[in-house]
Symmetry: C3
Subunit: 272 residues, 3 copies
Amino acid sequence: MAGVISLITDFGLRDEYAGVMKGVILSISAKSTIVDITHGIGPQNIREAALVLESSYPYFPRTTVHVVVVDPGVGSERRIIAAAAAGQLFLAPDNGVLTPILGSARLERAHLVSNRSLFRHPVSCTFHGRDIFAPVAARLAGGLALAEIGEAVRQEDLVQLPMPQPIEDEKEQVLSGEIIAVDHFGNLLTNIDAPLLAAKTSAWSTACRVELRGATIEGVRLSYQSVGPGELLALLGSRNRLEIAVNGGSAAHHLQASVGEGVRVLFRRAAG
Amino acid sequence: MAGVISLITDFGLRDEYAGVMKGVILSISAKSTIVDITHGIGPQNIREAALVLESSYPYFPRTTVHVVVVDPGVGSERRIIAAAAAGQLFLAPDNGVLTPILGSARLERAHLVSNRSLFRHPVSCTFHGRDIFAPVAARLAGGLALAEIGEAVRQEDLVQLPMPQPIEDEKEQVLSGEIIAVDHFGNLLTNIDAPLLAAKTSAWSTACRVELRGATIEGVRLSYQSVGPGELLALLGSRNRLEIAVNGGSAAHHLQASVGEGVRVLFRRAAG
Amino acid sequence: MAGVISLITDFGLRDEYAGVMKGVILSISAKSTIVDITHGIGPQNIREAALVLESSYPYFPRTTVHVVVVDPGVGSERRIIAAAAAGQLFLAPDNGVLTPILGSARLERAHLVSNRSLFRHPVSCTFHGRDIFAPVAARLAGGLALAEIGEAVRQEDLVQLPMPQPIEDEKEQVLSGEIIAVDHFGNLLTNIDAPLLAAKTSAWSTACRVELRGATIEGVRLSYQSVGPGELLALLGSRNRLEIAVNGGSAAHHLQASVGEGVRVLFRRAAG
């Protein structure tokens, strides 16, 4: 047995870091299939890594080992966690990048990564991706039980990232959220998700309007093509979140908007 | 059986989009070998994707499934095509990206991608790469017949991209073409190909000169090293097209030239 | 048998070049596992490629074939070398990129790549990655003996890159080196390595100080976390070299330093 190992790091693609991790993995588990999710996380941007993990892990085969090496605390006392959730495995520093699988019914169990006999020696203080994450991931992909990695740890003892929550003004029928990511196409991803919108209205295309940076967008659509080329729209994107986009263009450029910017959704009262 | 799947997209490498497609593919066809040709196509640049496909597919194993997701029409009524050509398979929106395998004797057959039982559900309106292209590619790589994908479609009903054609002035012995791509090294790729030049002369190195942006280049060479370091040259590159290059440098930078720029090849009359 | 093939090139990721090499490899050796170490070497930067090779090859499985295509001399008379060293295989132009496995006891044997029956035909003069390196690498990964590639060549006849050596002023207890690379995080890698430092002192954290660009750094550490956030430090990094870094930041940005910049290490005399 040798399954899929996915990698999310902030290593970039110019240096040899990701390649070296793959060399170590293949030295232990020659039949592993390694998938780069991204090495383009902003340096040490834990929140961005958590969002990418949330948007990608559900689409991988059962027992995939997802390795996240965005690790500003490397060499300090921060812990490394191996966890099982939603039928898959996760290996990451205990710094909040695993938030998407915590705080819900998803997590099955979590263990500290403490069994040093699984590490590459000598263990450097600056490249645990090579010396700890890669060899442990290879063993997990080969079927090693979590209990062999280290002692069990309780979910409530793990670092969880506070995600900015939308604020709902019941009376005014307003949801106030924010932009949490901007993708390669300039689409603006918000922290307002589909269930939250669905709780307010099922008539998305007519019953609400979206405001940000002085622009007003009528209705929430399902496809870029529902407006004309170059036009701004609000849509429920493939990540089940409210996104702001431009058909055939970049909303980030159009609105000069970036992460942290506020977004408001205003719902019309149903006629009496 | 599980073959090679190649990917050409405009997704970039920062987001999780390409990784998610791989997750879906491996969930269905665990033994597939996935090759990234590029995720760096300019956003929604169909012509660029067609050129990359043309320059890459002939070098892949038989029955490779080439998936092109450069898809400005995602979510609209645009069709998706699965085609067989030159012993290989192709999966792409019907927007012109498959032009390199059309308009010639290459195409063997083409089918609409309409069998929804092959898709991932629910099918989003914004990420068909994940919900349609990836699962269908995985099935094709696993040996599913094109006829199972959807109804056959005639070649003449498929969108074909008009490629800018060089103009030949018979009397003046001049070919007027243009730059159609600029590569990572700053080499300028033109729409004048080897057969066209060969029809004019076999004495490339002496019988013609190339003009663009006020520069005059004598002769067409076969290697960068045939001129001195830093010197401009015209050559028949590895893609069998006339290219303008600088030995050890960037012609794009040297000439401040970009896509769309005109290029003229002037042939000398044979001495009478 | 079909092993691992690693790729180090200056092709970038926007064009199809690396993907085409993979297509050719998989056409010959369908079971190969291909690992991108990097395609982000600066165009024709042989020294950078040599450093990346040095930092990556030791972490790969035995008999991995490491292919380096940073090849400003493509199409000229420069030779291509296949070599065995440290239990692994190497394929590269004879231009100095293989320096890390020369000049030591590492090299086991080297052969010219001259057996044209192994090449893709016609062999272009501009893309030997596709026409020579890829097919020969595929055969080596499949177990072909070096002797089948071409005639043996002596190590002393191979091009070796002069690496800038640190200068030691015995009396003044000063090592003068330089920055040889800057990584994605802005860490500054020097040509002063761990054995050289170890020969001077074992009390790294107290017995020396590092100077560059007017900044003075006390002591050599082992982890970024040994100083406060945003603070400059000198450390022995994961590549066993003296590096200059900023905890949670970029030393390159902090010091406005780049490759070639001088670095001095000053050792204190032991009290007498």
